[in-house]
């Protein structure tokens, strides 16, 4: 099975200043799968994606993508590897001064010298796949949030990547758009023979398309497995997260200095921490 791993993380540590974000994360992502990484907001999920894409470097640990150790790659090799990756950003990140067509054409224009007619076919094919061929002439400002995300999806896969990252693909979308995006992720992943890594806190939608999932909490992987195994997990933290319970191992109350009764009855001076 080791040969099938497209992305491998071993004991990855990452900190921003004094704040530890990832504390010894290890995971293996097999080729062709849709793998979800779930966890609370601000829990380091996006950081983890950036580490796998090589836009951030870990303080310790190893990250291998397609058999290459990201930490030993030079700038040119890393950029060559990125041509085989795509990323769907949380806010679409479309270029605001380009039309929908030019946004999708951008990677092709930058990397290949294609005949205009070939380029047109390739771009329209990808736009057709996300159902937006008719919107090719629109500007990003004229699109709804869901349409923008679909254009960004077309752009992320226009180079036929082997690995696609999705950063919170469902956030801020209406239920119809969420359904469309989820279907597209599954369909495109299988059609391209790609591998998808999905970062999300939307449990239901993610579980409907993911083959395997990891739950990240406190900078560590606390549970992993297929959606069914995760649902049956006996980790209390995993159950709190998947069940959406307000209190549990992740406390409802932000820690306070003294207890509630003292805080209410005690003399309080302006500016003093309660």
């Amino acid at each position: 099975m080791a040969a099938d791993a497209l992305v491998e993380l071993e004991n990855v540590h990452f900190a921003r200043g004094p704040h530890t974000v990832l504390d010894g994360v290890g995971l293996r992502i097999t080729q062709g799968a849709i793998v979800s990484i779930m966890g609370a907001s601000g829990g380091g999920k996006t950081t983890l994606l950036n580490l796998m894409a090589g836009t951030l470097a870990p303080q310790a640990g190893r990250i291998r993508v397609a058999g290459q150790d990201l930490q030993t790659l030079n700038f040119g090799d890393l950029y060559r590897l990125r041509r085989r990756m795509g990323m769907l950003f949380q806010h679409s990140a479309l270029f605001t001064d380009f039309s929908v067509f030019e946004n999708v054409a951008f990677p092709l224009r930058r990397h290949f010298r294609l005949d205009e007619s070939v380029l047109r076919k390739l771009v329209l094919m990808k736009l057709e796949a996300v159902g937006l061929r008719g919107a090719a002439g629109l500007m990003p400002a004229e699109l709804s949030g869901g349409m923008g995300r679909r254009v960004a999806l077309a752009r992320a896969m226009v180079m036929d990547p082997m690995l696609i990252f999705y950063d919170e693909p469902f956030t801020g979308l209406d239920p119809i758009s969420v359904g469309i995006i989820a279907t597209l992720i599954r369909r495109l992943n299988d059609a391209l023979g790609a591998t998808s890594i999905l970062v999300s806190h939307d449990v239901q939608e993610t579980f409907s398309i993911a083959d395997y999932g990891y739950i990240l909490a406190g900078g560590k992987i606390i549970a992993e497995g297929t959606p069914d195994t995760l649902r049956a997990s006996d980790s209390e933290l995993a159950r709190q997260f998947l069940g959406g319970k307000p209190d549990g191992p992740v406390p409802f109350h932000y820690p306070a200095k003294d207890d509630y009764a003292t805080a209410l009855t005690g003399v309080w001076a302006a500016g003093e921490a309660i």
Partner: protein
């Protein structure tokens, strides 16, 4: 007590500034040399030259016209006491070519194009457009920053030439038709007392340096901005203030050490 706070604060500020300056310098060199990168495009450069130039042209011309007219009045006021109004043409031309042209062009450019550049790059960063570019294996320094940086270096000297010409014309309009200085003397004195390399080229050299510094500061402030709405606003303000002060400081250094 206040003094005891002052020393560690100074140290902390210095420790923060020095690495920032280093990163900014590295950013400048990488961007300048990104012309060799395959994602640097001449079309992008021309688009920026056009954008910067057109954005600032009218502003420059109006400012230059008024500056020249004021120079005519003030110069006349000083020269008439010595009966030397025939030197008014020389005074207007030398003031503009050596000093006011480059400096005012750069200050206006910082306010007009520089602030827009910072806002543009920082909002591209805030909306993840720069990260998206990196993910598509296109170096944002080559595609976004380098064309703008080189455009600034080209455009500011060109704007400076226009500023000088319009300013001299404004000075002429006040000196000759309004104040009654002889037109022939005005131009003849100017022609014989303005040196091409000593006055005109040094002024253009200043403009070139200012163009580089203003665009560098504007691009860097945009690139290093906090990726939030507040960060974009802050970066724009800091960019204009820093660039303006840098132009005035650099002007002193260039004038004092190179062109005396």
């Amino acid at each position: 007590m206040a003094f005891m706070e002052f020393i560690p604060n100074l140290g902390r500020r210095t420790l923060r500034t020095v690495p920032n300056l280093g990163t900014a310098s590295r950013f400048l060199l990488l961007s300048l040399f990104a012309v060799a990168n395959r994602h640097f495009s001449i079309q992008q450069l021309l688009k920026q030259v056009y954008g910067f130039g057109v954005r600032s042209l009218l502003l420059m011309m109006v400012a230059a016209f008024f500056t020249g007219m004021v120079l005519g009045f003030q110069g006349y006021y000083a020269l008439v006491r010595f009966g030397a109004t025939s030197a008014l043409g020389t005074l207007v031309a030398l003031s503009l070519l050596r000093e006011l042209g480059p400096v005012l062009t750069a200050l206006l450019f910082a306010g007009r194009a520089g602030s827009a550049l910072t806002a543009e790059i920082s909002s591209m960063k805030a909306t993840e457009q720069l990260s998206a570019m990196e993910m598509m294996a296109v170096n944002p320094l080559a595609w976004v920053v380098a064309p703008r940086l080189w455009a600034g270096i080209f455009v500011v000297p060109i704007l400076c030439v226009i500023f000088d010409l319009v300013g001299i014309f404004g000075g002429y309009l006040i000196s000759v038709p309004v104040l009654g200085v002889d037109g022939g003397t005005f131009w003849a004195q100017m022609q014989s007392n303005v040196a091409f390399s000593g006055d005109i080229l040094t002024g253009l050299f200043k403009a070139l340096c200012f163009g580089l510094v203003v665009t560098w500061i504007a691009a860097w402030q945009g690139y290093a901005a906090q990726p939030t709405a507040e960060g974009v606003g802050n970066a724009t303000t800091i960019s204009v203030v820093t660039a303006s002060l840098a132009v005035l400081g650099l002007d002193f250094i260039l004038t004092a050490f190179l062109f005396t």
